[in-house]
């Protein structure tokens, strides 16, 4: 027992003697911290995405304009910050296909107080994602990303204990599942095991077609909503105007809700989580609604008056 330990120690000693002693780089750690961009853990809702409101030198961006307004240009809507046109992070011109969306984005910019908080501007971020496509995703990539959630949909996974929680799941999630099955004419069963449920081919086809029917803009919004709710079925219920955003977020967090009822609610964690999730999912739902073909203009030369 002692022999291998001694050889081990000896080995380490010889190795360290051969190499030059490295200076412990404290400066590097400090720079990483104040450079500040990716330090904060993404899990913590309060410190989440603080980096978005800092520019390259790590200082907070002050509000550099007085008023944000919209203009119409060849069927697209642009946002003007005090006479200067808003641009995307890569420098492209910021254009959206729908008037209420542009108005809502202008409101986002107008509601900034002294500093710019990009983490509160969900609609702007979604539009930037569509315009820039920073990860070079094709439509197929996005659709595949969404369908990945079909077999890991939140409301399909039931836990068998405690008994009360099982009842709660049946009570809350079953009606939504029933609506989904009847309105899309598909079969999809819930499961109580860790393995994903068997997805019949017909179901996959129908859902693929449904997701593919969204145009490029609505697709990005839809994917963002699915990612946040971790469930396609709940997002479809929202876009089909069957559930409100508050109710859908509640259903997505059912287990947490059940646990907080028993063990107590921590305001600075649970409530922050609820409000952030609600704002993101609501932004996604609005994005899908306003960018879908009946609201958005598709012609570049003429503006056909809608609603």
């Amino acid at each position: 027992m002692a022999a291998p330990m001694n050889t081990c120690k000896h080995l380490i000693r010889t190795l360290t003697r051969i190499r030059k002693p490295k200076p412990i780089n404290v400066c590097f750690i400090r720079k990483y911290k104040t450079g500040g961009e990716f330090l904060y853990s993404v899990q913590d809702p309060l410190l989440n995405s603080h980096w978005l409101s800092q520019n390259k030198t790590g200082q907070e961006l002050k509000k550099f304009y007085k008023n944000a307004s919209i203009v119409q240009n060849q069927g697209w809507f642009e946002v003007n910050l005090d006479q200067r046109k808003l641009r995307t992070p890569t420098g492209n011109l910021f254009q959206v296909p729908s008037e209420p969306l542009a108005l809502a984005i202008a409101t986002e910019w107008n509601s900034q107080k002294e500093t710019i908080k990009r983490q509160a501007m969900h609609l702007t971020t979604l539009s930037n994602t569509v315009l820039d496509n920073p990860m070079q995703r094709s439509r197929g990539d996005i659709v595949r990303g969404v369908l990945h959630f079909l077999e890991t949909d939140t409301i399909l996974y039931r836990s068998t204990e405690p008994q009360e929680f099982l009842e709660l799941q049946k009570q809350e999630w079953d009606p939504v599942l029933k609506w989904f099955r009847s309105s899309y004419q598909v079969e999809l069963d819930s499961t109580t095991s860790l393995m994903p449920p068997e997805i019949p081919e017909n179901t996959e086809e129908v859902i693929t077609r449904k997701v593919n029917s969204l145009n490029d803009w609505a697709l990005v919004g839809f994917q963002y909503g699915v990612e946040n709710l971790k469930s396609i079925i709940l997002m479809l219920a929202i876009t089909d105007k069957r559930l409100t955003v508050e109710k859908a977020v509640q259903l997505a967090r059912l287990e947490t809700l059940y646990q907080t009822k028993i063990w107590g609610n921590v305001q600075w964690h649970h409530d922050v989580d609820i409000y952030q999730l609600q704002s993101r999912v609501a932004a996604a739902a609005l994005f899908v609604h306003w960018c879908s073909n009946d609201m958005a203009t598709t012609h570049k030369t003429t503006y056909s008056n809608q609603t």
């Binding site: 108005l103 600075w268 704002s279």
Partner: protein, 108 residues
């Protein structure tokens, strides 16, 4: 009866939307002049009689209004909570001092 309920819901939505817009809007301008508020007011006026114009679903326009209201309220509340529970993060030196350690010195 159902109609009256719908009208009441509409009024409630309008009131809450106006309140949110007032909170987030520019204090110098009158809310009435902003294009956003005019758009909202126009939508309410247009869909006063029925929201089922242009083959839209029964509650669609109301749901959109409620979704937008939800977004504005959630943003405001999460910001309030962030301000309420805001703390400054300790520096590395202070965190080390908490457990009685000192930072190693740098060798150039």
């Amino acid at each position: 009866m159902a109609n009256q309920q719908k009208v009441n819901l509409g009024r409630l939505l309008y009131k809450r939307l106006s309140r949110e817009m007032k909170i987030t809007a520019n204090p110098k301008e009158k809310l009435y002049d902003t294009p956003v508020f005019q758009y909202i007011a126009n939508q309410f006026r247009e869909h006063q009689v029925t929201t089922q114009k242009l083959c839209k679903g029964q509650n669609e326009v109301m749901m959109v209004g409620q979704t937008y209201l939800c977004m504005l309220e959630s943003l405001r509340k999460s910001e309030e909570l962030a301000q309420m529970y805001k703390t400054t993060e300790r520096s590395i030196e202070q965190s080390a001092n908490l457990v009685g350690l000192k930072l190693p010195t740098v060798d150039h």
